[in-house]
Amino acid sequence: MSKDQEILDSITSQEYQWGFESNIDQEIAAIGLSEDTIRFISKKKNEPEWMLEWRLKAFEIWKSMPEPNWQNLEYAPVDFQSISYYAEPKKKTLNSLDELDPEIKATYDKLGIPLEEQKLLAGVAVDAVLDSVSVVTTYKERLAQDGIIFCSFSEAVHEHPELVKKYLGSVVPVADNYFSALNCAVFSDGSFVYIPKGVRCPMELSTYFRINAKNTGQFERTLIIADDHSYVSYLEGCTAPQRDENQLHAAVVELVAMEHAEIKYSTVQNWFPGDKDGKGGIYNFVTKRGACLGNHSKISWTQVETGSAVTWKYPSCILKGDYSVGEFYSVAVTNNFQQADTGTKMIHTGKHTRSRIVSKGISAGKSQNSYRGLVRVNKRAEGARNFSQCDSLLLGDRCGAHTFPYFEILNNSANVEHEATTSKIGEDILFYFRQRGIGEEDAVAMIVNGYAKEVLDQLPMEFAVEAKKLLAISLEGSVG
């Protein structure tokens, strides 16, 4: 923390160099970013003073940071002054599903999503989605019995300030990176989870059912704390494509696992990837990190990334507790003009810590797909072990796959293994399927599902079935 403090001090003493300041009418939803914007957001959310102070400090830090450019991505610069940071009043609703983009509607149908749920996902104005509401209520009652806290982040700021104060920014420091700093300043809402000592959460926790906090917007903030000997499996996102007006997303997720605790975090990301010509689409700059603080704790990330025009995401684990375990299972699909630079960091600081990385990249169309991963074994981390498997699958010959593995091994007792493969689905393979009566799209689905099986197997059952369909849909039209 002292280093952070140093940075903080140096930054706050600097001249304000960005010239962003402008007077914002308090009554109008702010376009652009300044201290006033942050005060406005905080006030709208009726936040306590400490929360506002924290945001303002983060804003000062963000202003001093350069935007990163080391990633293997090319995109038009984001104009941070043209974004509205408090979008709630502008939230557009549709009157019926007929107004929805027909392509999104077609995808809902292919995934077999019931009509009522389609309305919810598309943001159609409905009086109440009764089934879902009752599900939520039932969930909440059941969870409360075990003392589990599962609520929106805003609610947690009011109801559980001690926990929020203690852990917010403890895993991803404010100054960690440009986008996390931005998130700290302007985060909209998100989830908060606390699992008490010795409790095994009786159900998968899913943002999908956290109905009160839907439309959390582009700067989501999630904090999950698993106390000693507890267990939780958390599902983020949903296989259905989500309608979204915001182009920039910069979320932060922090996980904290105490002794013998286990957190399993699964994501299916399916934001709008842009059209076939590469126009539009979400920029997704996410910071996800878990800290295995306690001995024998475990954090496992599983992600299926199919959406967004640009993905910049490295769910990581800090393995501080002795014998703690970090896992990263990823399938990242890019098609058309999508770009993904994703991977993980496994930081071994505790003794006999273990990590496992399984990354499966799939590139199609004219897309670019990069794996970037760091395995670091610190001096004190006796007996650390890592296994990394990074596979790339290319569909056609106009796409790219790149692997950037980094290893920083400071302890000689470490055991680190890295395997990488690249394969290509070319005309020959497709012709073989077709000669047996199997059409191209079924062929691609079979190959991709076989290839991604090890990762899909990590997902909860229902999610896995949908994720398989999603992979096939994402790659439609990518061959031939």
């Binding site: 077709r434 000669q435 047996r436 009566g437 079979m446 290839y451 099986k453």
Partner: protein, 252 residues
């Protein structure tokens, strides 16, 4: 069953087939022989519908359907099977899943329901035994890490599962030892009946000792230049292709 009329085809602008005429009737086995580069593999690729080859002239009729208008998978569902010279490896997709998908696509095309899991397993075991493949191969990825012989057996296994009307065996004998050759040939012979037909493409005569052809054609420079019975194959075995080349060089 199969009628090829004046077929011309080229790849990247280079003519390979220069007027093929061929008729194959149900219940017969035709062999296509010829020196290297005569167009044997091109012929099988064009019939199966490989898109790299451009048909510039001619027709291919298969059971009354002009198959040049069909996609490769549609041709397959109509009952056209190609046993590949170089079977493709497909990591991550098991033989069982692959063939199940293929069989169900063909059944769907015929208006039949999918086979039950039990019936399917029974059928797979029966056909695997026919070509001397052990059950555990079904769980392995398609052709991945298979020996040359196993790959060719797998082709005949798939043929047996799909029960096509016309099977084209493209150099199925290449890379096979004598035992595998015999197993493969026995498999084919067991599948032969009065309803189906085989087009056996080969450079050497030895496969034809086991799969006895009714008609033998010699392909040279993109045309069928000789047609005869099995004795033609024996003559080629004995004298090689030089006399064919000598005789037809002028035309080429």
């Amino acid at each position: 069953m199969l009628q090829i009329k004046n077929l011309h085809a080229q790849i990247e602008g280079k003519p390979i087939l220069k007027g093929i005429n061929l008729e194959v009737k149900a219940g017969t086995v035709h062999a296509i022989m010829g020196p290297n580069g005569s167009g044997k593999s091109t012929l099988s690729s064009v019939i199966a519908g490989r898109e790299e080859y451009e048909v510039t002239e001619g027709e291919i009729w298969f059971n009354g359907v002009n198959i040049l208008e069909l996609e490769p998978e549609e041709r397959a569902r109509e009952g056209l099977f190609l046993a590949f010279q170089y079977p493709i490896e497909i990591p991550g997709v098991s033989n069982a899943n692959f063939i199940k998908m293929a069989v169900n696509e063909v059944r769907k095309h015929k208006g039949l329901e999918s086979l039950s899991a039990t019936d399917f397993l029974k059928l797979m075991r029966e056909k695997a035994a026919l070509v001397g493949l052990k059950d555990d191969f079904l769980k392995r990825s398609v052709n991945a890490g298979f020996s040359g012989g196993e790959k060719k057996r797998n082709e005949i296994f798939q043929l047996a599962m799909l029960d096509p009307k016309l099977s084209i065996l493209d150099e199925t004998d290449s890379g096979l030892d004598i035992d595998a050759l015999r197993t493969v040939a026995e498999g084919v012979n067991a599948l032969k009946n009065s309803e189906n037909a085989f087009l056996v493409i080969t450079h050497y005569q030895r496969l034809l000792d086991y799969i006895v052809p009714d008609v033998v054609h010699v392909l040279y420079d993109g045309r069928i230049v000789e047609t005869g019975d099995k004795n033609l194959a024996l003559k080629l075995e004995d004298q090689g292709y030089d006399w064919v080349i000598e005789k037809h060089k002028q035309e080429a």
